[in-house]
Symmetry: C4
Subunit: 221 residues, 4 copies
């Protein structure tokens, strides 16, 4: 048992196990940076470029940026909380989990890109607004899939978990991922109807997750 826990040939790649700790540290870094880089895309008109409009009303016109910023911040924050909860289940991970985690981080660290594109095109009528919204929604679909993949890679080897996850809990997780996946996919379709409605759906989903996750805490708190 202990033998298989030792990264016996970590240098030469392979069968090695890794502590969850450093995977968490690296992931926390990526989550923290992605969530903070979002602020770089909040803009305002320079003094002298206002042409008689007040700064206040110019900022009011920036609402798509604020809306997209807020939703992306919430999405990354909630993914971080779920990642945190998942990592608490085991002390060691294998390489396969590290790669699944890397795939999740790819989909998370890219979020500032579709966010600023959506902010720029949210109120553009017609196909270009739809394209920007669909790219944003598609990125969320892939991120959701990456998280599901990671979750099953992580919980696949029950011996690794110090907190066994019951079959019932796994079914519940699968149902929840399935539900999230369906809403995420529906949001891609919605992007072609109304970009604002697509973004509002993600906002509502985030708020729903907040309350859903707080509810049991409230019952037992």
């Amino acid at each position: 048992m202990t033998e298989s826990d030792v990264p016996a040939d970590a240098g030469s790649a392979g069968r090695a196990d890794f502590s969850t700790g450093r995977m968490e540290a690296f992931s926390d870094g990526v989550f923290a940076i992605a969530i903070t880089l979002l602020v770089l895309d909040l803009g305002f008109p320079e003094p002298g470029s206002l042409h008689g409009i007040s700064l206040a009303s110019a900022l009011a016109h920036e609402w798509p940026s604020y809306f997209a910023y807020l939703v992306s911040f919430l999405v990354i924050g909630i993914i971080w909380i779920n990642h945190h909860a998942m990592c608490a289940l085991a002390d060691r991970v294998d390489r396969r989990t590290l790669f699944a985690n890397l795939f999740l981080l790819l989909t998370v660290s890219v979020i500032p890109y579709p966010t600023r594109m959506l902010a720029a095109y949210l109120t553009t009528p017609g196909r270009d607004g739809h394209t920007a919204a669909a790219v944003y929604a598609a990125n969320m679909v892939v991120m959701g899939a990456a998280f599901s993949l990671l979750f099953f890679a992580y919980t696949r080897d029950a011996r690794r978990l110090h907190t066994p996850v019951s079959a019932k809990d796994l079914r519940a997780a699968r149902r929840r991922f399935g539900f999230g996946g369906v809403v995420y996919l529906a949001a891609v379709g919605l992007a072609y109807v109304s970009p604002v409605a697509m973004l509002a759906t993600h906002a509502l989903l985030a708020v729903y997750y907040c309350f859903d996750q707080l509810a049991p805490a409230r019952r037992t708190g």
Copy 2:
């Protein structure tokens, strides 16, 4: 007791407790990035765009950027020290605290935005300077409120704290938060009188907090 400490169904959301450690790691990341991103907004004229003015006097005209940078750096730094002090009180947090923490991080990670807007408009006379200053001050009000909220979510469940906080200490904390809240609100009003005075108020408040917090250490050191 130990049973309730185990994130029994962390995967399926809910009643789970979380170690303070990772909340700190993620928060430290966000604080560190927000405080360091401020530097991206310090500018200087490119060579060849000086039109006969010296670089030295061009930099002297950049004082609003330096002033805003310094105050925002201090504010984030002090919030970090207080966050650090708070986290030392307990080893485990619930989901509600994680969400309160996420709300605080939202208000902190956004600081570079009002900071660069204030830097640009600090010396603009009239309503636009007032608007930029009011946005900056309002962000600080919300941040202060978020920290109070987090502090009470964190200390709410006394059983969780390994260092009990006395009712007297809680009253003192409440008084201090109340005092800070009043000054922060007053600063929003001040923004409409003088943006520079508003920023100076935040600078003084930060310096006051430094000395206030160092004083007891000096008495017992």
Copy 3:
């Protein structure tokens, strides 16, 4: 033994040993930031600058940016996984290893620069495209060399390793580094033939490393 483990004169520099932990924390920070900063170089045309082309087809023309982003993300991610595996071998490092690590971090943290240059010049025919590709490939050569250097500095003192690395494993590591070095050097040459083929080579190498490293895990999993 224990005496030599104590950073006896850490303040005055010198013979001191350091815990691997903080080297990992700092490295994780640099890896996480470099991998996340890549997103800042993904661009899109502003609304109103499309001149009749659709946003969708404008984004399709951005494929060199996406391709370069993806390859650089993978390269940094895999280097991080290897760094992680290496750090698991010992608890303490000496100053020489810290400096070798700093050299690796220099070559990693600079990656966003050749990446955005390559993205801009990938489809530029002639010498300038070749130059950008050669700079990218050369940076990878130096990064590979830095990792080899670090690996040998790290494993040099066998007494330091709590997991002894067998002579056979070291030979295997040396072979693998040698193979990687040859491919990396060949990629520099390839840059002068076809920048796209150079980048594809790095992509294939990264995918090869993924599968190569996952294979043994599969055999024993």
Copy 4:
């Protein structure tokens, strides 16, 4: 003893002690971000703006950026190594040390600003080049002073140190800080003679520190 170690009134500010661990985590974050943000200031001409010059020779003209990047990277890297060595001396710090650390972080996190200004003005003849170089050198003076301040705040309370620092070692540290301070101050003067010589001095000082610190390791290794 144990009683004084407990952050008894951490919530209400004051006499509290803090674990070194989180100060390190936050500092590592700031160091890692500052060192990685430097890469954002490396530029290259866009395709189509070369007007007949080759990209290779355009990049050769960017040498001031590369030189300034390299020196600033080394300076931050070495400060990090010294910070690391210092933190190994004690497990707990007081608030005063946290504030001294915050002051150091201010001087470190601002480094990308004078670095990009120096890169832009390094080859500008006359007073503007001198100004940019003097700002860079002055920032290093303040950073050196901040590190000395932090070191003495950190080692002031001998009871806190689990590795006692001998009076001889403290004198040696003081001498080294004094020497560094004199060279740093001289570099400010040199900025008015030759910006390139000023930067080369910082490069040489960094290399000197590397070898100086590696030498004892070599003797005992």
